[in-house]
Structure formats: structure tokens, C-alpha cells
């Protein structure tokens, strides 16, 4: 059994273009990530209610908003662009996603469990318990898709684009994976919105 292979036979050839070396992990963003990690750890460690709610609401809002926008707006546009245009866009867009998405996901999930515990939603007797379990399942699927498919494709595209002679067909295939999985995540985020507004209104 072997995983899918990519053959360069039909690799699109397009005009070479000037492009700078891509920084896969934008180091300038790391201090902000560090501050977010410290803020989340302090909020959990000291049971700081405002900190927990802030991280959960801000992180969750950004996560949902970005997934919806990328999956349902940027993704379809990206799918229709020429490969050089996609490569240009991705070279600037994806390194930012490498920093932003794990940070907002960490902010949301680490504090969400604490918020649920503090509000009593974890108790089996809570009327919100079933909705909470459904939200765990939705997040679980999203995490597996994002970490197992989308993020590896994202990093692989950046590495490919840093090669002296990038493979256009490979970038196209990996970008298709990005477009489809971000669409799936966008749709699943609609479920998250329904669940979270339901939880918040009870």
C-alpha cells in the first residue's frame, strides 16, 4: 500500500517570476505567541475568570471567523487563480497562518474546558452537557482535519516554493488539499457557531 504519488508529467509550466525567500515561520510573530501562551497559562493557573473568558471568546471568535472567511471566501477564489498567482498569494498568506492558527486554537481550547467547568456545563446533569459533547466532537474532527491534512499541506507548499525550481503541479495538488479542507473546516465552523450561541443563550 502506498500513499498518493505526484507525477510531474503534466506539471504546468509558467513564466518564472521574481520572488523572495519565504520565511516558513515568521519569527517576528513568536513574541506575540509567547505572550498568548503566558496569558492562557496565568488565566488557567489563577482561575482568572475574565482571562479565561477573554481567551476563549477572542480565540474562538478569531478561529471561527478566519476558518469561515478562508474556507468559504478565500478558498474558492484561490481555487480559480492561476498557479503563479496562487503561489504569490500563498507565499505571503501561509506563513501568517502558520503562526496565527495554532495560537488561536490553543487560546480557545485550553480555556474553553475551564470555562465549561466553571459554568457547570461539564456536569452530566447540566442541560448544556449534550451540546458540550457535540462541540467536543466537532472540534475533534476539525483538529484532525486541520492537523493531519491542512497544516502539513500548508508547510509543504512553503517548502516547495522555497526550492530553486518549484514543482507547479505539486503546489497545485497541495493547494487543492488546502482549498478543500479549509472549505470543510468553514462548514464545520457553522456548526460551532450554532452550538456556542445555543450554549450562551441557555
Amino acid at each position: 500500500m502506498s500513499e498518493e504519488t505526484v507525477v510531474d508529467v503534466a506539471a504546468p509550466h509558467f513564466t518564472p517570476f521574481d520572488r523572495p525567500k519565504i520565511q516558513v515561520v515568521p519569527l517576528r510573530g513568536l513574541p506575540i505567541v509567547g505572550l498568548a501562551v503566558i496569558f492562557v497559562a496565568l488565566s488557567i493557573g489563577f482561575n482568572w475568570q475574565w482571562g479565561l473568558v477573554f481567551n476563549h471568546v477572542v480565540g474562538g471568535g478569531l478561529w471561527t471567523g478566519i476558518d469561515l472567511f478562508v474556507g468559504l471566501v478565500i478558498g474558492p477564489i484561490l481555487g480559480r487563480l492561476s498557479i503563479p498567482a496562487r503561489a504569490e498569494f500563498s507565499a505571503r498568506f501561509m506563513p501568517k497562518m502558520v503562526i496565527i492558527m495554532p495560537t488561536v486554537v490553543m487560546m480557545t481550547l485550553a480555556t474553553g474546558f475551564q470555562v465549561a467547568r466553571a459554568q457547570g456545563n461539564l456536569l452530566a446533569s447540566s442541560p448544556n452537557h449534550v451540546w458540550l459533547i457535540v462541540s467536543f466532537c466537532v472540534v475533534g474532527v476539525m483538529a484532525t482535519v486541520a492537523l493531519g491534512i491542512l497544516e502539513p499541506a500548508n508547510i509543504a507548499v512553503l517548502y516547495e516554493m522555497n526550492k530553486p525550481i518549484p514543482n507547479g503541479q505539486l503546489i497545485h495538488q497541495l493547494m487543492q488539499r488546502f482549498v478543500y479542507t479549509s472549505g470543510i473546516l468553514g462548514i464545520m465552523q457553522v456548526a460551532t457557531l450554532i452550538i456556542m450561541t445555543r450554549l450562551g443563550s441557555r
Partner: protein, 141 residues
């Protein structure tokens, strides 16, 4: 800034690979299911038998992926190790944060042991998937 062409030779990307990415993703999926199971029972103790079963199967899948990976020849190990190290750093921090939350919530005993091992598999499987996906398309030379 430099001007470069955009199509690579076929030999770099047309070789088949063992299902390392699939195995590591399956391991990740199993520990995610296990995590949901444990979290859905909190603050009560979850049925640990099923969670342990998921953990063992996930560990077997990840070890199999590791063995298959170690047997690869003409593989871009330099790229793999660079990506793996950075991703490992990121996911060790994430796993550490989750472990901290469980300890803070007074998870103890067998439940904590299972959570810890699940987080170890999580912290190893994601970097494996990312690094393998990147390195399989990289030039092994």
C-alpha cells in the same frame, strides 16, 4: 530577490511511499477520540478500558509509522529533522498546556497517566505528519 523557474524534475516527486502519513493521522484521530471520551466524562472518571484500548492502538500505529519511516532510503532527512524539531517544539508547548489544565483540574491516577500518554502521542504524531509530508517532496541530496 531572484528569478527562478517553476517546474521540478519528475524523479523528485514520483516515488511511492509507505503509508506513514496515514498511520500517524490515524494515531492522531484515535487520541483525539480518546481525549473527547475522557473530557466528556469530566469531572467523573471515564471508562478507562476503552480509552486505554484507543491509546494502545494509537501507539501501535505511531510506532509502525516510525519503523516504516526509519527504513526509508533516499529520503530528505535534513528537511524532515528541521521541520520535525520546530513542529515538535510547538506541539510540546500545546500538549504541556493541555496537561497543565488537566492537572489543574485535579485529574489524578490512571486517568492522568492515560491523558499524559495520549498527549505524548499527540505531540509526536502531528510533527511526524507535517515533517513527513514536507520531506517526501524534498530533494534527498
Amino acid at each position: 530577490m531572484s528569478t527562478r523557474g517553476v517546474s521540478a524534475p519528475a524523479h523528485e516527486v514520483d516515488r511511492p511511499f509507505p503509508p506513514i502519513g496515514y498511520l500517524a493521522t490515524a494515531a492522531l484521530g484515535l487520541v483525539v477520540v480518546g481525549g473527547i471520551l475522557l473530557a466528556s466524562y469530566a469531572p467523573r472518571v471515564a471508562p478507562l478500558g476503552f480509552a486505554t484500548g484507543l491509546l494502545i492502538v494509537a501507539a501501535i500505529l505511531l510506532v509502525t509509522a516510525g519503523v516504516l519511516l526509519a527504513r526509508l532510503k533516499d529520503f530528505a532527512w535534513g528537511t524532515f529533522s528541521t521541520v520535525f524539531k520546530w513542529a515538535l517544539l510547538a506541539y510540546v508547548i500545546t500538549s504541556g498546556m493541555i496537561e497543565f489544565a488537566f492537572v489543574h483540574d485535579h485529574t489524578r491516577g490512571s486517568s492522568l497517566v492515560i491523558v499524559t500518554f495520549m498527549l505524548v502521542i499527540f505531540a509526536l504524531s502531528v510533527p511526524t505528519i507535517i515533517a513527513f509530508t514536507t520531506a517526501r517532496y524534498a530533494d534527498p541530496r
